[in-house]
């Protein structure tokens, strides 16, 4: 199994398209960092809105590495699924397209082992992509902007988190994001089983993510109650839950706490169920598939 996984990882990382994602993330992160380095004040003024009328805003200290990292994650985690689909959608369909799939299943390896190796290779790719993103958005931002307390802007509230209470939240958020993006990878992997070339599953995955994200973000009560709780895209934003703090009776936030940890864990559980369902379905379909290409 380990050997199979190594072979699959070798196949992923010898394709030049794999590195498009790493390059795209590097470009996007650096563009955002440079923009904030030169005009971060405008962005802070925008997100703090009318607060500058009544409060003294310490712009220089707000613009720190933790804050920049949060902005980058907020902007990019919506778009990263597209980069994940690029590789995951190619896993089986790419082999079918090249005509190597039939050859592959004729080897003395069970289809289950083959599919598991391909899926875990996709998971490794997803984790590496996120690790790369974490390095650029968190480590590089800290080096460029330093550290201080983190300000998180919600639609109707501002959270201030002590600087020594931030790092574990980022680690939890990146771990959560890995699960969230693995869900997208599992979906693309499932769709890949049905296709003979990789364009179909990649475009289908992107389309599904876009439609579901729109449904998740629309504030329509009918969808909020019926559709939204079951869409995996509604739960992909759960990483932000680690940055929402509990408050005491006086409205003072309590360091080390999470406002609604059970809800975050529930969202994580739902995403894991989706992963098992998508990957399991892919396995079942592939085992029954009549491979002609």
């Amino acid at each position: 199994m380990w050997q199979l996984l190594q072979i699959e990882l070798f196949k992923i990382f010898r394709k030049s398209r794999t590195y498009i994602s790493f390059g795209a993330i590097a470009a996007m992160v650096i563009i955002v960092q440079m923009a904030l380095k030169f005009d971060g004040r405008s962005y802070i003024e925008f997100i703090l809105g009318s607060l500058k009328e009544t409060l003294d805003i310490p712009y220089a200290t707000i613009l720190n590495g933790y804050f920049v990292c949060f902005i980058i994650l907020n902007l990019l985690l919506i778009h990263i699924p597209l980069l994940i689909a690029l590789v995951a959608g190619d896993e089986v369909a790419g082999e079918a397209n090249m005509g190597t799939l039939r050859l592959l299943v004729s080897k003395p390896v069970s289809r289950t082992e083959l599919m598991l190796a391909k899926f875990f290779a996709t998971v490794v790719y997803t984790a590496l992509l996120l690790a790369w993103m974490a390095f650029l958005s968190l480590v590089l931002s800290i080096l460029l902007f330093g550290t201080n307390d983190l300000i998180v802007a919600r639609s109707n509230a501002i959270e201030i988190i002590n600087r020594n209470d931030v790092m574990w939240r980022y680690l939890a958020a990146f771990a959560y994001a890995t699960i969230a993006l693995t869900t997208v990878a599992a979906l693309a992997f499932l769709l890949s089983v049905f296709a003979e070339n990789s364009i179909g599953p990649i475009v289908s995955t992107i389309s599904i993510v876009i439609v579901f994200t729109i449904l998740s973000e629309m504030q329509i009560p009918l969808y909020d109650r019926t559709v939204k709780p079951y869409l995996f895209t509604s739960h992909m934003l759960g990483w932000k839950g680690f940055f929402y703090l509990k408050t005491d009776a006086d409205g003072i936030s309590m360091p080390g706490t999470v406002e609604n940890l059970p809800a975050v864990l529930k969202s994580m559980g739902i995403l894991l169920i989706y992963i098992v369902a998508f990957a399991g379905s892919a396995l079942v379909v592939f085992k029954k598939k009549d491979i002609l290409s």
Binding site: A153, S155, A157, N162, I252, S253, S267
Partner: protein, 231 residues
């Protein structure tokens, strides 16, 4: 005869009011002369912020003051969003400059009878329009101050005194100020909706008032404070 009695009564009333105003002015002078003994201070304390749309942890802050009316609240280990009208927490600022003193009678603060004094700045360009001070006459301490400003509405300052009462410096202050409602589109913030019911709606009267509470642990008085601190 009735007319004479009425005139006498009016005259007595006018004399009484003038005497009350003079008493109030003398009281303010006494309080001011006590405050004048402090040229500068650096106070260390814990600040709690209570604003409906802000979730802020308790922060260790330093409050710097220098005569005549320079004051700065600094969180040197983190970020604190401090209301713009904090100059009102400096009583020297309220009692500085030229003003007309009016007697506002007696009132109660925390069960204690106090003298109410109103200060009307004579300078029309002054940021402060009206100050109302609640003074403990026996201890010559201001327990509460309401300040109406041109830019930031009405602020309220309540003070509790303890070990620094001799220097007229409070152990605890509660500063209540006006805020504006905060709202950003969800399409910008991409909030995580955890499915729970939100506790309250924004736009209520409580949302328009914020409060900071500073409990001081120590003061360093008249040891000098550099001007750079206030920049």
């Amino acid at each position: 005869m009735k007319k004479i009695c009425c005139l006498l009564a009016l005259l007595l009333l006018a004399l009484f009011e003038q005497s009350a105003a003079q008493d109030a002015e003398a009281l303010v002078k006494k309080v001011k002369s006590r405050l004048d003994k402090v040229n500068d201070y650096t106070a260390t304390g814990e600040m709690k912020t209570n604003v409906s749309f802000m979730k802020v942890p308790a922060a260790q802050v330093k409050v710097y003051f220098k005569k005549p009316d320079k004051i700065k609240i600094k969180n040197e280990k983190g970020i604190s969003l401090v209301p713009k009208g904090t100059v009102s927490i400096s009583l020297n600022h309220l009692l500085g400059g030229q003003y007309q003193v009016l007697d506002g009678g007696a009132d109660k603060v925390e069960g204690l009878t106090v003298r109410v004094v109103k200060l009307l700045p004579l300078d029309e360009s002054n940021e402060v329009v009206l100050s109302k001070l609640y003074i403990d006459e026996a201890r010559l301490l201001i327990l509460k101050a309401k300040t109406t400003t041109r830019e930031n509405g009405t602020n309220e300052l309540e003070m509790e005194y303890g070990k620094y009462a001799d220097q007229a410096l409070p152990d605890k202050i509660v500063f209540t100020f006006n805020t504006l409602e905060y709202k950003l589109p969800k399409g910008v913030t991409f909030d995580y909706d955890d499915g729970s019911q939100k506790k309250k709606q924004t736009g209520t009267a409580d949302d328009q008032r914020g409060k900071i509470e500073i409990t001081f642990s120590s003061y360093i008085i008249n040891k000098g404070v550099p001007d750079e601190v206030f920049k």
